[in-house]
Subunit: 346 residues, 2 copies
């Protein structure tokens, strides 16, 4: 295949692939991965040369709870297992302030975590100040990432990212939490953020519109230096960017990752066999939640409440999108369903 | 989501979505769809406003055989069931000269087929001359499509397409049969073909590299007027472009299709429930066959022979790609496996 000209005029940067299979994938299995599963996958990713392996409860450090779901293993156990399974890959954790606290960060540091990501809603980077400061004081590599980033303008995201850098983030990033973006949306946002910060920029995609790989490539072409991807796309709903697809596509586009192709295919085979009941696919609910820009974690509650109230769950998703619902606002689902029901005159 | 400028300067054309769920999907179920399955899906696609519904054995008219697989239903039965199930959608068939003959085309005409596609290997459009001529004489809308199109240069594809138009094709197209393309490859090829013909140009994608939707969008942006897509991506290996994902993405990109969103989601739900054991996903073999540019129909034989000869099936695929293997050359698999085995010194 000839390389088109527009790929040759850019000087391609080395892309760091950040693998949250053992953290974001947890959402697809109610946080029930056990020690043998973590070990099998972490060793395979390490052997493949995946640079960063993230582990934890789906909602990050400190999130195991009745509300967010009890994980099978404690944070301590997960970190210990993955730490001893990695020889070259760096170990990462994720934390949402509110779920996790400085005490959880201390715990991660005792497990010799290499990279800590602090995530906030896309307009609330303020909430990361204390934790990013703590990590800076302790000399731990810290990243600040913005969730549900399609809900903010490129300019707003750029300002929030600049603030994350001031707080101490050594890298910043945006999550397409609801899988809403098309490639031009990603290009615009990564470009805006790159104009506002001097640190590496990360992109984390979901596949609701079949665009996770294409969006990640758009991010790399706009200068993103960190791309998130999970083996077999392991993750909630339509899943995440598929790691073992992204790696060779990046290679073909001229973005070296340092990851061995057969190694990452082996890791993906292990993930499919050991971690998941079935690989994610794009079902109708995933398409609709992606179009509506709604967090796919709402799925089961939307389906249950829609059945009870005899309304179309697709209408509920689109209305939740219009109301800019975000995680934590599950009460809105009932409200929306009742409003739609009344509008039907029943 | 703001519409980026480059989308506004083009005048978007109306895109005709061509749905081969009931033909290409047959490859995923050994051509075993029954009358009730064809009827249920065809009615749902018709209700959604899908403009063209293609039906038949996976290899097209006349292909049911021991070698290509015996279909559950005869061509006559398939065409009769789908014809009576469609009220607005047009009915299409596919034919590969060699498998099908003029007698098969006559039969399709008696079933009031609306669109006939004649497919050949990408460098062998000559083989379509007689059948396209026959269809022109009989006043049937005919299309000429080139399979495994990544194996020819854009210039060669443009010449082959121009020849198909001379033979009588009212539309021409390229199939990414092995799922090898990235979007820039598609842009380059559709642009070259558009420069050589005045008829609508079709693109048919496969999802081996997670790019089927992105490649289809690239085709539309380069001026393709016909895009193929299957419900839930129903098809062999990694599957085809996913219909109910493509439709709303085209809508967001400013390419109207006339297809109702909820209707096509309903059709996809029926397809998942009634037609397939499970929706296609991108497994490691699919990634490798896409990268290697090898027809994914080789999969089972490559796996069997590799197991027997104790060689890595991924090596076999890459070597088949280097040797430019095409469907019908299955003998090459044994040859390649033995060569690799010897190279291993065993």
């Amino acid at each position: 295949m000839n390389t088109p000209e527009h790929e040759q005029v850019n000087t391609p940067q080395h892309v760091v692939v950040h693998d949250p299979t053992l953290r974001d994938g947890h959402h697809a299995v109610r946080h029930q991965l056990g020690a043998e599963q973590l070990r099998a996958y972490a060793k395979a990713a390490d052997a493949a040369g995946v640079p960063v392996v993230e582990v934890g409860h789906g909602n990050g450090l400190g999130a195991s709870s009745l509300q967010a779901g009890q994980a099978r293993l404690s944070d301590d156990d997960m970190l210990a297992v993955v730490r001893e399974s990695l020889s070259k890959s760096r170990m990462a954790v994720f934390m949402l302030p509110g779920w996790g606290t400085t005490a959880d960060l201390r715990k991660a540091i005792t497990h010799q975590v290499d990279v800590v990501r602090i995530g906030t809603h896309c307009t609330e980077s303020d909430l990361a100040e204390r934790h990013l400061g703590f990590l800076r004081e302790n000399g731990v590599e810290a990243q600040g990432v913005l969730l549900m980033s399609h809900m903010a303008t490129p300019e707003r995201l750029a300002r929030e990212c600049a603030q994350l850098v001031e707080f101490g983030a050594g890298a910043v990033g945006i999550f397409d939490s609801s899988g809403h973006y098309l490639p031009a949306d990603v290009t615009e946002r990564i470009t805006a953020i790159r104009g506002a910060v001097d640190v590496p920029v990360a992109f984390h995609g979901h596949n609701n519109l079949g665009m996770a790989v294409a969006n990640s490539i758009a991010a790399a072409e706009a200068g993103a230096g960190i791309l998130d991807a999970c083996a077999r796309g392991f993750g909630a709903g339509a899943g995440n960017t598929q790691l073992e697809v992204l790696v060779p596509v990046l290679q073909r586009m001229g973005f070296p990752t340092g990851i061995d192709l057969y190694g990452v295919l082996n890791a993906a085979d292990i993930a499919e066999r050991e971690l998941m009941p079935a690989p994610p696919t794009i079902d109708s609910v995933a398409v609709v939640s992606g179009l509506a820009g709604v967090f796919s974690g709402f799925k089961n509650r939307v389906l249950d409440i829609s059945r009870r109230e005899k309304v179309d769950p697709r209408d509920v998703f689109f209305e939740l999108g219009r109301r800019q619902a975000v995680a934590g606002q599950e009460d809105l689902i009932v409200d929306v369903a009742l409003t739609l029901r009344e509008a039907l005159g029943s």
